[in-house]
Structures are given as structure tokens and as C-alpha cells.
Amino acid sequence: MMPIAAMLLFPIICYKIGWDAIDSSIFIVAIPLVVWPAIAIIGQVWKKTDWWKDHLKEGGIIALAALAVSLCLTVWLIISFLKDHGSFGAQDSDLASFAWLNFDILAHDGVSWEILGTEKLGFTIGFGIYVDALTLMLLFVAAFLCFLIGWFAIGYMTTDAVNEDRNHRFFAEFLLFSCGMFGMVLADNFLWLFIFWEIMGLCSYLLIGFYWEKPSAAAAAKKAFMTTRVGDVFLMIGLFILYDLYHSLSFEVIFDPAITGTVDPERLRLALIMMFIGAIGKSAQFPLHVWLPDAMEGPTPVSALIHAATMVNAGLYLVARMFPFFGAAGFEGEFTDVALLIAWIGGITAIMAAAIAFVANDIKRVLAYSTMSQLAYIFAGLGAACWFANTGHPEYAALAFGAALFHLFNHAMAKGMLFMASGSVIHEMHHAHHHTDGGEDDGAGGSEGDDHFDAQDMRNMGGLAAKMPVTSVAMMLGSMSIIGIPLIGGFWSKEGIIGQAWHAAISQDGGAMLVPAVLLLATAGMTGFYMSRMWFMTFAGKPKSEVAKHVGEDTHWIKTPLVTLSIVTAFTGAIFAVLNFPEWLGEGEELMHGIESHGLAEQVVAVLEHTFLPHESTLMVVGWTAIVISAVLGPFLAARIHGGKLARGEQANAFVGWLVQISGSVGRTNVDEVAKSGFALALHNRLYIDDVYEWVIARTVLPLGRLLAWFDASGVDGVIKGIESGSQASSSWLRLMTTGSARDYILMATVGALCIFALMWGVA
């Protein structure tokens, strides 16, 4: 249909005109940028018409077409890059760049002041396109997931009555967000990275608050914006420092090997820390993580795209872009503390989020905490990479870097799919709720149903494996990828990260890396538990509520993306591992290198050997420990507590049936004691961190504002009012002189005349 036609037409037109892939890449950003206001305005004006609602799915089809074009251009760009590897890097595309700010700088060279730049405005900050392996990987993830989740959203949003007549806003904001993400990864300098970063923040705010009539959603949106704003301010300061050091923010200039190492490391360290704080805010790491769980108030496609698969990767992208600083000549040993900071924050967040996920009952919240935890893994991996780079081990740094980014890829695919699957579950639970009780809902995806039925609460689910085959398979594969079940998806990258973290810990001077390494290992086991718990509570066992008995699976809009991503999750992990994907990301090695040099079969064996039987004995122990606790122990415990066979007469499909069977036969454990403990309560309350923040803000920020408002009105203005009343009073007093009596006036005139004579005589 329309989207597919658009997909094929556009790049062909570009090619015919003579633009190459790099020039056309500007359209990846430009097309969504131009289309989104069209959807918003046309939708607002024509929102009640049939052709808009049925044929264009309230703008969904238009959005999907735009995203299809972007996806197609992305694929073309990737193919070009792989073919002409040598000629890519920083690009100087005339079509795709423009100057934004021009200016000169006044500088003191130690002796005197002088103007730098000119020839009429020598310094420029502008927009340009920069393409390397990192860009392309993130661009592909973004374009692919935006497209699929857009597809999913058409089915999800337009079949729910509560969204009626406002989906045009959804699709417009969705598209603007996509534009922001594409722009961020394609930008060739830090300032434009930041600009698109903020655009994404705006869309996040708008989309979390999509159901704005609910106070909880409006509050969640505000919390998200404010928390990320705090991080953004620090990021901005980091950019200012960076600009002052290099007199440029462009990657081409800053990462020129001849230039990078020539600045003051002290100031650069500060800049890196500031930028990292910005990354923490955006990627929801401790202590700026508080907005992510609340962000689940938004519709599920939003949670899938923004808060799992793309926007939260922005922080990771920024840290990945900072990586070259660590390895630059001249900075050896200067930034190990920054690297350790990154790794520690990663480790702490990973285990904290995993712990809270243990007790979360809302299916989306579990996934939110899982996202937080997995992103923390990637941060820890990047931290290890930076540490290696800065201590003079570039080969290990590249390995860790590649593993971390590979995990980003796997996680994005799997998490996007998991959220979509959970959306499918929630969607069907809603419909079933309508049919069983005829109950009215006043807010989709919310926790307040009419009769307080929560379609997102896993305690109302159970046994859905029999009724939702596609979803259950999707969710199983996604969970396996996140847990790191051997050979599926995330396993390949997770092993890499844990391995490299431990490698750093056992290296010389690596003692401080031990804490993150241990935390990551422990979290692996916890991940196995809580993800399995989620799956079993939802899909295994008997239905725990009436509603769950009547769930079905319908629209193709939802099922197609799920099937697509299931296949991707199941196989791409292994395929990319064989293709040396991590090395391609980390060192720039050719993708086909391994296969070309050894042959396919040998390469597969080599990769398996490298993963399961590494040379270092410590790493082998760590690796196998991780596999055992995450793939065996965790799921086993979860099955004992939450698993169970399906109800009599029900049957799940072959892909998941075995899992349900096993979960039913491992026995049961009663954990009520633990579930009611104080610690569990603390976890339920998110370890009280949110409460502390809110308490502080309510006690300090707001009262100070009110105090100053009072002070301004009464104090500062009080002075003015004092002048007013003072002048009026003195005027009234002086007026007393005009008594109206002739005698007084003659007296005054006489006295005055005498004074004048006296003065004149005095002077003479």
C-alpha cells in the first residue's frame, strides 16, 4: 500500500537525481520534521471525518509512510557504508549541512587580548551529518523500531475508544520524536546532538502526558521533563567547557587525533563528568532514575519506543561518543576515575532496579525496571571500556565497547518487543474486561478502571499462553534475550559485558572495578528471576481473574511487528556474533572478516569457543556462573513460586507449551513471609528515593519561591509604595502653607523680602 510504495520510490528518486546515500540522509531527519505538523493540523481540523479515521487511521498511515522512507534511506546508507567503508567517517555533504551560528571570539593569549576568527566571522556552529559504525547501528535500531512500533501503534491506539479523536496528536508527536532521534544520531557535533536530545525530551513530555486529563499522567510528564532537565543543564555546562577547550563542538575537529589530546585534562575531566550527568538523567540511572517508572503512564507504544528502545539510548550514545577521549594520546591515567564513576553508577542502578522489579505487580513497571537495569549493564560495559582505554589497553577497550553496544542493540530489539507484547496483553485484557462486565473504562492503560480493574496488574492475569499464542512466544523470546539464555539474543552481548567487567576487575589496578563486576553478576541472576516471574505470572498457571479467561488475540497490526521482532530476537544475536558485530563496532573491523578468513563453520566454532571456553580461567568461571544463575537458578525459583500448569482443557502452542509444562512440575514454594517483610515493602515504595526528592522540593524550593514572591510584592515594591505615600504625605504637609488668609501671605512676603535684603547686604 501507500507506505511501501513511498518506501521504494523515494530513494530511487534521490539516486536518479544524483545524490548519494550520504546526501540523501538529510531526508531521514527532514521528512518526519515536515510531515508531523501536517498530521497535527490536518487531524485537528478533519478529525471527525471517515476518510481520516478509517483510511488514514487518524494519521497513522501517513506517519508510517514517513517512517518507511526513513527506514529505507537508512538501509541504503548502511549498504553504502559497508561497501565503501574506507571513504566514510566525517562527511562534508553540501546538501546535508548548514551554518547555524557564526561569530568571533575574544581571547587572551597570555600577553594581550586579540580577536580570533574573523575574515568576517570565523567560528561556526552548524549542522552536518556524521556517519560511522556507531551512528549506523543506532540509526538502524531507531528507524527499524520506530517503523515497527508505529505499525503496532496503529493497531493499539485506533482500536481503543478512549483514544478517539486524539490519535492525530499521538502520531504527530510520535513522528516528531522519530525526527529527534534520527537527528541526534546523525548530527556531527555535540550541540546539535543536544538540540535533538531536547526535542526528544519534549516529545517524551507530550506523550507521557497523552492522557492529560488524568492527574497522575500530567504529574508523570512533568516529573520526566524536570528530572531530565536537571541532567540537561549539566550536559549544557559540559558542552560549554568543551567548546572553550577546543573552540569547536564538531566531532571531526574534537576527535582529530592530533587535536584531542592537546587540552587541559583537568577541565576536560569536568566536562566529561558534566556530560555524564546529563546521560544519567536521560537514561534513567541512579540518582536521576525516578522518572522512568512513572513514565509508564503513557500509552504502551510510547513506553516501547521512547522509554525502552530509543530515547533512553540517548544517554548511552552520548557516553559512547565520549569514548575516544579516554583512549586519546596524552590522557593516560587521567580519566580512570570518570570511567569508574560510569561503571559504578551502572552497577548500582542494575542491582537496585532488579531488586525493585522483584515485587512489581504491574507488567509495564517490571519492564521499566528491567530497562533501567539493562541500560545500567551497558553503562557498566562502557565504563569498563573507558577504563581499559584510559589505562592503556586499547584491545580490551574495543572488546568491551563492542560488547556494550551490541547489548544496546539486543536490548532495544528485545525490549521494544516486550513492551509491544505487554501492550498486546493489556489491550486484550481491556477488551475482555469490557465484554465480561460491560464495564466502562475512564482511562486506557491506567491503573484506575471503572470498578478499579487494573488491566496491567499481573495478579489479574495467568494462563494466557493458551489464549495468546503469538504474544506468549514473543514475550518468551524477549525474556530469554534479556535474561541471557545461551544462544538467544542478549546472551552474546551480556557475556561480553560481564566478562570484560571482571577482566577489568582482575587486571592490575582494577580493584575498584570489582564492585560493579560483582553487582553485574548478581544482577544477572536476579534478572533471570524477575523476568521469568513476569512470564509465568502472565502466561502460565490458571487464570487468576474472570477477565483473564476471556482474553483473545486479534488485529494483525499488533501481531505482525511481534512476529517480526520475535524472529529478529531469536536469530540476530547469533548471526551478528558470528559476523563479528562487536568488533565491527569497537575496532572498525570488517563485518565479514571472520567468515572470509576462516570459513563459515570455523567461524561459528571460534565464536562459540570464545564465548563458552575463554582462555582466562577466571573469566570462564564467571561466564559459567552467570549462565547458571541467570538461565537456570533464576527461572527455576520463579517457576516454583509463580509457575503452574494451564487449566484443564487448555493448551499452549509448541513454542511455549514445554515451558508451561516444566513450570508446573517443579513444585511450589510459599514466599508469603518474605513478601510481607519490611524490605519488600521498601522495594514496593521504590526504596523511598522518590519520596525523599519530593519531600526536599516541597520543603525548600516551593516555600522559597513563595517567600520571594511575598518579598517582592511587599519589600521591594514596599519601598516604592513608601515613596508614593511619603511624597503624598509631604505634599499634604506643605499644602498647609496655603492658608488662604491674606495676613499670612503678607507676613510671608515681608519675611521673605527681609531675608533677601539681609542676603544682599551680607554679600556686599
Binding site: N102, F103, E198, E213
Partner: protein, 547 residues
């Protein structure tokens, strides 16, 4: 003199407005209603014509073969367009008006004043459009037109006497706008506004007179009795020769001028006239007040103090930082405690104008260009904010934040514009405000280092109060939306098409100048760079100023 387009821009609106008011006053009772409608159209027509003229002036500069990138920087440093008149050209290029004391009609625009002129011509028709249905519209719109003439007069005058005349002239229509069409407390607000700013301007006049007496012009020509003139170009020439006022006298003049300009901008602590004036003023009045009149203060500061008294700028750099920082931070916190929507926006204006002092204090070309661009950007965004607040008041009869929630339900267009305006004001990238902020903050870091933390953290507070006010007006209100008691029996409705077009134009402008700031930024940058390189660099070297 008539042929000079700047003269037309200044005098034509003044004369036209007076004429229109006269016509309406002199007309018969029964004809007045009809006439009122036509007069409004004529006012709008004249305003749009002025906009076209101003745009053409800019394009002419662009196409003229002047040095620099694309010719925009032809409107550069001391490179005034149109500084001549037909007969009796004086030495500096003006035409004699009051020869005996050395007053001339000398108009010209350069890179500093052109964006302001264009901004004024843009805002006048928009504010007329947004407040189209005001009662006694003939006088209302004519007064707005009169404001246009006076405002442009301020920006184009290169003679300080005329500058002061126009400066005070702007007060008169605004006074009447507030007094006759304002809110409940309008009398107090109008009086306070007039007397406060007028009193401050008197200090400025004292400074101007002192400058006058140090500006000799031996070859004025016919009729000059004092041997001095008010001409700004001559004063600039003296500065270039280092023969203008210096030492203690310069500090005194600088401070006198500062009092006047700081009150206009406004800067804390002389800002308290602004909240009252804004809350009580009609929508169009607030838009012009915030959009252009405040910029007069900043413009005057840069035009007079920065270019003519560089030593004082260097000496009082700390004072500028202090005033700017206090305005920025203090006003932001005060915003947090406001419950009146228009007062909140008024204080946010104070806060943003404080940033201009910070930009100038950096003494970087980027910082000064950022300050000038902030004048422009704020001049686009602030009227949008006041248009929204005014529409809110008009349709819901209240300005209390939180008294009307779930606005998106009844007034989706108003909510959309509110969101755009609010986001632009808090510095969202790809909108004009961000450009100015980034430019100034980068320059601020370069000059003052870690002190930049204070303005940067204030950005968080800014976001906080805007988001808070948005949440309690546009959002929430689940279930049945409760209308505020002030509504009475009125049905809630969305904005009229006049208001919509006006707001949308401003919103689009904010985005255009956010994505392509170079349209004006290049000329502002060139001007600042030339200013620094010709005036400040040598001075800083000779004074031994350390970084």
C-alpha cells in the same frame, strides 16, 4: 528628508494615527460605529504597509554590494543605512531641526537597530489583530499605531534629543491604553508605570545633557549658538579619538544612564512597575510593552553606554553581572510563587531581560551578539505568552492558575499555543530563545567560568514554573471540567481566528528564528565583533585587564 524610508517609518504612523483619531472624534454620533470599523482596517493596513517597508529595507541591505557575508553585515558597525537628507545636510549627515541648540533630524539603522525596527513593525499588526474586538476600537488601534511611530523613532534616532523625545513619547499611548482599556486596578497601574519610568528617564536626561555639553561641533553651520550638538555619530567619532568624556565624569554619566535603562529593561531592583502594568494592561498593550518597550532599555544601553563608554563597561563589569544575575535568579524564584498567570509571565520577562546584562558583561562578541539576539527572540516569544494569557483572561474571566483546569478540553488551539509559547520561553532548542541562551552562556563560561552554574541552574527553575502552570491549566481536569465561578453563565470556547492567526504567526517566527537564527545573528555578530575589535581590544590591552 521625506524620501528617506526611515523617516516615513517614524512619522507616517504618528501622523496617520492622530489623523484617524481626529476624524473619529469629529464625526457625527450615528456615523461613528461604522467609521470605527473602517478606521480599524486602515490602522491594520498602515501597520502591514510599515512591515512591508521594513522588510524591503532589510532586503535592500542584503542585495547592496556591501562587504561581508551575503551583505547582511552591510548593516554593520557604524555603517548606517540612509543617513542623509535632501537639503541642508549637516556634517554628520542629519538635517537641522533646532539649530540653535544643535538638534538635528538624523536617522539611520545599523545591525543593532534594524532587527528591533523589523520586530516593531511585525508586532504592531499582530497585536492589533489579537485584540481586534476591543471596544472603542478606533482610538485603541490608533493609539497602537502611534506607539509604532514612537518606538521606531527611538530605534532609528541618531540624535540624542530626538531619541529622548521619542523615548518619552512612547509612554503616552501606553499610559492611555492601560488607563482606558485595562483591568480593575488600571488607574494605579497606569500612574505607577508612567511616573516610575518617567522619573528614571529624567536621570537619563541628565546624563544625555552632560554628554551634550561634551560634544562640540565647531562647524555646525547656520544658527548654532551653544557650539554643541546632540549628534550620536559625532560622539562616536570622539570615542574613536579617545577624546570623549572620561574618568570620574564618565562613571557619573554611565550610572545616570544606567538608572534610566535599568528601569526600562527592567532590572531588579527597579522592576516593580512591570508586574502591575502588565497585569492591568489590555492584551495588545502587554504584548507591545513586553515585546518592544522593554527592549528600548536594552537597546539604549547598548547603543549609548556600551559604545560610548567602554571604560565604564570594563570598570563596572561586576555591576552588570550583579544586576543581570539578580534579575535572572531572583525573578525566576519569584515566578515560582505566583498564582496569577500574567504576573508569572511578567516576572519571567524580568528574568529573561537580566540575561542581556550578562551577555554584555562577557565582553565577548558571541555574548554581545547573544544579548542582542535575546532582545529579538524575547521580543517574539513574550508577546506570544501575553497573547495567550490575555486570551485566557478574555475567555475564562480569570487569571488565577489552577482555577480553570483541563483547558485542552474546551480550547485546544489555545492550549497548543500556550504549550508552544511556554516551551519557547523556557529555552527549548529549535526555538529562538535557545539560540540566545546558548550564545550567552557559552560566552559567560569563557569569561566567568564556574559562575555560569547559577544561570544554568536557573534554567531548571524556569522549566519548573512553566511546567507547573501548564499542568494546572492545560492538563488535569479529569472527568467533568469544573468552570471557574468567574465564568458566570458563559460557555467556554476556543480562541477566535484573529487571536489564532496572531499567535500562530508568532509561534512560526519563533521556530524559524530558532532553526535559522543566521538571518539576523550574522549581522548582530558582525556588529559585536567590530565593536569589540575597534573599541574594546585596545582599551583592555592598555588597561591591563586580565582574563
Amino acid at each position: 528628508m521625506i524620501g528617506n524610508p526611515l523617516t516615513i517609518l517614524t512619522l507616517f504612523p504618528l501622523c496617520a494615527s492622530l489623523l484617524l483619531m481626529l476624524v473619529h472624534w469629529a464625526a457625527a454620533e450615528d456615523r461613528q460605529a461604522d467609521l470605527s470599523k473602517w478606521i480599524r482596517y486602515i490602522n491594520l493596513g498602515v501597520a502591514l504597509f510599515m512591515l512591508a517597508l521594513a522588510t524591503l529595507i532589510g532586503l535592500e541591505s542584503f542585495s547592496a554590494d556591501l562587504t561581508g557575508i551575503g551583505g547582511w553585515v552591510g548593516l554593520g558597525w557604524h555603517n548606517y543605512l540612509y543617513d542623509n537628507c535632501d537639503q541642508g545636510i549637516l556634517r554628520a549627515g542629519g538635517c537641522a531641526v533646532i539649530s540653535s541648540i544643535g538638534v538635528s533630524w538624523h536617522v539611520g539603522i545599523d545591525a543593532l537597530s534594524y532587527p528591533m525596527v523589523w520586530l516593531t513593525t511585525l508586532l504592531i499588526p499582530i497585536s492589533m489583530l489579537v485584540d481586534w474586538d476591543q471596544k472603542r476600537g478606533a482610538y485603541f488601534h490608533s493609539l497602537i499605531l502611534m506607539m509604532e511611530g514612537a518606538l521606531i523613532g527611538v530605534f532609528v534616532s541618531l540624535d540624542l534629543f530626538m531619541f529622548y523625545v521619542f523615548w518619552e513619547l512612547t509612554l503616552i499611548p501606553m499610559f492611555f491604553l492601560i488607563l482606558l482599556w485595562g483591568g480593575e486596578d488600571r488607574r494605579y497601574a497606569a500612574q505607577k508605570f508612567f511616573i516610575y519610568t518617567f522619573a528614571a528617564s529624567v536621570f537619563m536626561l541628565a546624563g544625555i545633557l552632560m554628554m551634550y555639553f561634551h560634544n562640540p561641533v565647531p562647524d555646525w553651520g547656520v544658527g548654532n549658538l551653544t557650539g554643541n550638538s546632540f549628534d550620536l555619530v559625532l560622539m562616536n567619532e570622539q570615542v574613536a579619538d579617545s577624546s570623549f568624556i572620561s574618568g570620574g565624569m564618565q562613571s557619573l554619566v554611565f550610572l545616570l544612564l544606567l538608572i534610566g535603562f535599568a528601569t526600562k529593561m527592567p532590572s531588579v531592583p527597579v522592576h516593580t512597575w512591570l508586574p502591575d502594568a502588565h497585569v492591568e494592561a489590555p492584551t495588545a498593550g502587554s504584548m507591545l510593552l513586553a515585546g518592544v518597550m522593554l527592549k528600548m532599555g536594552a537597546y539604549g544601553f547598548i547603543r549609548l553606554s556600551v559604545t560610548l563608554f567602554p571604560e565604564s563597561i570594563i570598570k563596572y563589569q561586576w555591576l552588570l553581572v550583579l544586576l543581570g544575575m539578580v534579575s535572572l535568579v531572583y525573578a525566576s524564584w519569584v515566578c515560582l510563587g505566583q498564582t496569577n498567570l500574567k504576573r508569572l509571565v511578567a516576572y519571567s520577562s524580568v528574568s529573561h531581560m537580566g540575561v542581556i546584562f550578562l551577555g554584555v558583561a562577557t565582553l565577548q562578541p558571541l555574548g554581545i551578539a547573544g544579548a542582542i539576539f535575546m532582545m529579538f527572540a524575547h521580543g517574539i516569544i513574550s508577546p506570544l505568552l501575553f497573547a495567550v494569557a490575555g486570551a485566557f483572561k478574555k475567555h475564562y474571566h480569570t487569571l488565577e492558575i489552577g482555577s480553570m483546569r483541563g483547558l485542552a478540553h474546551h480550547s485546544p488551539w489555545m492550549s497548543a499555543h500556550m504549550m508552544v509559547g511556554w516551551m519557547a520561553s523556557l529555552g527549548l532548542p529549535l526555538m529562538a530563545g535557545f539560540v540566545a541562551e546558548v550564545a550567552i552562556l557559552i560566552a559567560f563560561w569563557m569569561t566567568f567560568g564556574w559562575l555560569v552554574l547559577l544561570p544554568a541552574l536557573t534554567l531548571i527553575i524556569t522549566a519548573a514554573y512553566y511546567l507547573w502552570s501548564m499542568q494546572r491549566t492545560i492538563f488535569e481536569g479529569s472527568g467533568e471540567v469544573e468552570l471557574p465561578p468567574t465564568m458566570g453563565d458563559d460557555e467556554p470556547r476556543d480562541i477566535t481566528w484573529h487571536e489564532n492567526v496572531g499567535m500562530m504567526t508568532l509561534g512560526i517566527m519563533a521556530v524559524i528564528f530558532g532553526i535559522l537564527p543566521g538571518i539576523f545573528f550574522v549581522m548582530m555578530s558582525g556588529w559585536s565583533s567590530d565593536l569589540i575589535s575597534t573599541t574594546f581590544v585596545d582599551l583592555m590591552n592598555s588597561l591591563g585587564v586580565e582574563p
